[in-house]
């Protein structure tokens, strides 16, 4: 099936048609939990993209060696190893982001997006298509998280990527950087995204 898939479509499907957040609803915990600013959303997205890419590469390389009965635990160990690497690198080089993302960094392990792609795609396809699949899906995730983070930051703090565009003591929708704002902003972004993607399909 995958061989017939055009490589370009393989890459692009993750960004719009099968967007992990807006369409497939995968990885909702970090999506809602860390997107109180655009920068945090971007950081989380890139960390997830890295783990997804590496785990897809390794899984597709070893797919014929792993007996199918133990494949899920094997995939989880591969993913957990890369998550540990990300955790250590972030702690050492970007401590600010490490503090902000907190508990959600180790929780990349249980992000269903990554295990889902390993199981549904990388364990059945060659390395090249798995890389493209991971890049497409990962970028879709990065875009979704950054968009949600930006929307919440603009409404909630009146700034974008920490650049303020309202007066210092202006009133903003603080609700949007609080937990309820995450659900509400994502609800409207999903409506908006569905509108765009159905239009494109026509």
């Amino acid at each position: 099936m995958a061989e017939a898939l055009n490589q370009k479509d393989n890459f692009l499907k993750g960004i719009i048609k099968e967007n992990p957040v807006f369409v497939m609803l995968l990885g909702m915990c970090p999506t809602l939990g860390v997107t109180s600013s655009a920068f945090n959303g971007l950081g989380m997205g890139v960390a997830t993209l890295f783990v997804l890419l590496m785990s897809n590469i390794v899984v597709s390389l070893i797919k014929s060696q792993v007996p199918s009965k133990v494949r899920i635990p094997a995939f989880i160990i591969i993913i957990a190893s890369f998550v540990t690497i990300v955790e250590m690198v972030l702690e050492a080089f970007i401590p600010f982001l490490y503090e902000q993302l907190g508990i959600f960094i180790p929780l990349i392990v249980v992000n269903c997006l990554i295990l889902g792609r390993a199981e549904a795609f990388a364990s059945k396809n060659n390395v090249m298509s798995s890389i493209l699949d991971a890049l497409g899906m990962g970028l879709g995730f990065v875009i979704a998280l950054t968009a949600l983070g930006a929307a919440r930051e603009i409404l909630g703090s009146g700034s974008i990527f920490d650049i303020k565009f309202v007066a210092e003591n202006a009133n903003t929708f603080i609700l949007f950087i609080l937990p309820p704002g995450a659900f509400i902003a994502l609800a409207y972004l999903t409506v908006f995204f569905n509108k765009i993607s159905t239009k494109e399909a026509k």
């Binding site: 609803l25 909702m28 915990c29 970090p30 809602l32 939990g33 899920i72 635990p73 989880i76 160990i77 957990a80 190893s81 998550v83 540990t84 955790e87 250590m88 508990i103 180790p106 929780l107 392990v109 249980v110 992000n111 269903c112 295990l115 609700l175 609080l178 937990p179 309820p180 704002g181 995450a182 659900f183 509400i184 994502l186 609800a187 409207y188 999903t190 409506v191 569905n194 509108k195």
Partner: protein
């Protein structure tokens, strides 16, 4: 007193689902009927308590003495996955009725980030002890159950609501979750 504060804090003030965003997948996934959400809450209570007990002991007695704290993520997820499998096998053998009620939810729990999240959060508590960690897990799973059952009962009513086309399905559920979370925000400052 300390334990009452942990309980109120975990159930109302820092509700694991509505203000910490852990366990969103089952929260959105299995909340279309009250009966299934009760089953899921039961399964989470069971697994979260046992898993936190196991991971806390693993961390205190093996990882810390051996200086291997960086293996926390890998070892915890393996322990949780193995525990879920074990619970499933034991329940099937020992208590078929309980297995009937919880069985289908057990495999889903391995990827429930609330379980791993609580196991990690329990390590960071002030003057933590094994008893406290286990109590923390119980309190959090009660919080999870409360949020899930409340949400499911609202969703049952939504089935009949007349909604604009674009809002049907996921968006309206997220919006309802947002309002529920807003209600829980009212508990801020209680402890």
């Amino acid at each position: 007193m300390e334990y009452i504060i942990i309980l109120i804090g975990a159930v109302f003030v820092n509700n694991i689902v509505l203000s910490q965003f852990l366990g969103i997948c089952p929260f959105l996934g299995v909340s279309n009927k009250v009966s299934t959400s009760v089953g899921m809450s039961g399964a989470v209570l069971f697994v979260m308590t046992i898993a936190t007990m196991a991971t806390y002991m693993l961390h205190e007695f093996i990882l810390v003495p051996a200086g291997l704290e960086y293996l926390r993520t890998i070892t915890f997820i393996l322990v949780i996955a193995a525990l879920v499998q074990m619970v499933e096998i034991i329940l099937k053998k020992v208590s078929p009725p309980l297995y009937q009620a919880l069985g289908v939810f057990l495999p889903l729990i391995t990827t429930n980030c609330a379980v791993l999240g609580v196991a990690i959060l329990a390590l960071g508590m002030e003057n933590a002890s094994l008893l406290k960690a286990v109590f923390f897990a119980v309190a959090n799973s009660i919080g999870f159950g409360l949020a899930l059952i409340l949400f499911a009962s609202i969703r049952e009513h939504l089935e009949l609501a007349d909604l604009p086309k674009g809002m049907k399905g996921v968006p309206i559920n997220l919006l309802v979750a947002g309002l529920l979370s807003l209600a829980f925000l009212g508990f801020t400052g209680l402890v």
